[in-house]
C-alpha cells in the first residue's frame, strides 16, 4: 500500500499562492459545499529578551508521511469528507510565514469543522517533525509544542 502514501513536505515556507491554487483546484468538484483550512504561522515569540526570527524544521520523513497517511485514513472513515490535503514545511520558515497547511472539504460544514481540529491535533502530537527556533542573533532553542 506504500504507493498511496503522499509526501506532506515542502521545502521552505508554504506560499499564499500555493494555498490559493489549492483552493482553485476544488472549483471543479461541485459536490463540495464546505471547505475548512488551518494555517500554522511562525510566531515571533519573545523569549528572555530575544525574538524568534525563524524556525528551522527537520523531520523523520518516512515515519511522518506514514503517520499522516494513517491519520488521513482514520479521518476519512470517521468523517464524511470529500478530500483532504496536508502540507508541512521543511527547512527555514521566517516569522510571519506559513509552515503548516491542512485543507478539508465536504458537502456540508459539520464534518469539515469537526475533522479539521482532530487532524491538526493528531499531526502535532504524532508526526515526527522537529522545530528549531532561531533568534535574531542566530542562537537557537528547540521548540516545544503546547
Amino acid at each position: 500500500m506504500k504507493e498511496n502514501i503522499k509526501n506532506i513536505f515542502v521545502e521552505g515556507a508554504i506560499s499564499p499562492t500555493k494555498i490559493a491554487t489549492s483552493i482553485a483546484h476544488h472549483q471543479s468538484k461541485t459536490n463540495i459545499g464546505a471547505h475548512a483550512i488551518f494555517l500554522g504561522q511562525v510566531r515571533a515569540d519573545q523569549i528572555e529578551g530575544k525574538t524568534v526570527h525563524a524556525i528551522d524544521y527537520s523531520a523523520q520523513t518516512e515515519i511522518a508521511n506514514q503517520v499522516c497517511h494513517e491519520i488521513r485514513e482514520a479521518a476519512f472513515s470517521k468523517f464524511d469528507l470529500s478530500c483532504m490535503h496536508i502540507y508541512h514545511s521543511l527547512g527555514t520558515v521566517k516569522s510571519g510565514e506559513v509552515c503548516f497547511f491542512v485543507f478539508v472539504s465536504s458537502a456540508h460544514r459539520k464534518p469539515v469543522f469537526e475533522s479539521l481540529t482532530a487532524i491538526v491535533n493528531e499531526i502535532k502530537a504524532k508526526v515526527p517533525v522537529f522545530g528549531k527556533e532561531i533568534f535574531e542573533d542566530q542562537s537557537h532553542q528547540w521548540k516545544v509544542n503546547q
Binding site: 500554522g40 524544521y57 527537520s58 523531520a59 523523520q60 518516512e62 515515519i63 511522518a64 506514514q66 508541512h88 509552515c99 503548516f100 491538526v120 499531526i123 502535532k124 502530537a125 504524532k126 508526526v127 515526527p128 517533525v129 522537529f130 522545530g131 528549531k132 528547540w142 521548540k143 516545544v144 509544542n145
Partner: protein, 77 residues
C-alpha cells in the same frame, strides 16, 4: 549485524552526530536505549522515542531491524 543509528533534532547536538554505525547484540530496544544513554549521558534529560526500520517501537521489542532512529519530542505545526 550492524545497526545504522540516526539522531534527529536536538539529539544531534547532544551526541554531536547525525548518525553512526553500531555493532553488538542489544536484545531489546530498552537495552539499546540504556546503551546509548551510557554513551551519551545528555540523552537522559530528553524523552526520546526509538524507531526501527521506520516504525516507532516500544522498549520491550526485540532489536531486529537495521535502521534505528532516535526521535526527540515532536514540535511540528
Amino acid at each position: 549485524m550492524g545497526l545504522r543509528v540516526r539522531y534527529f533534532g536536538q539529539l544531534q547536538e547532544i551526541t554531536g552526530k547525525k548518525e553512526e554505525s553500531l555493532t553488538g547484540v542489544f536484545g531489546t530496544i530498552g537495552n539499546l536505549r540504556a546503551h546509548l544513554i551510557r554513551c551519551y549521558p545528555g540523552l537522559e534529560k530528553i524523552h526520546f522515542k526509538i524507531a526501527q526500520d521506520n516504525t516507532i517501537d516500544i522498549d520491550s521489542s526485540e532489536v531486529n531491524g537495521t535502521l534505528i532512529d532516535l526521535l526527540p519530542p515532536f514540535s511540528g505545526g
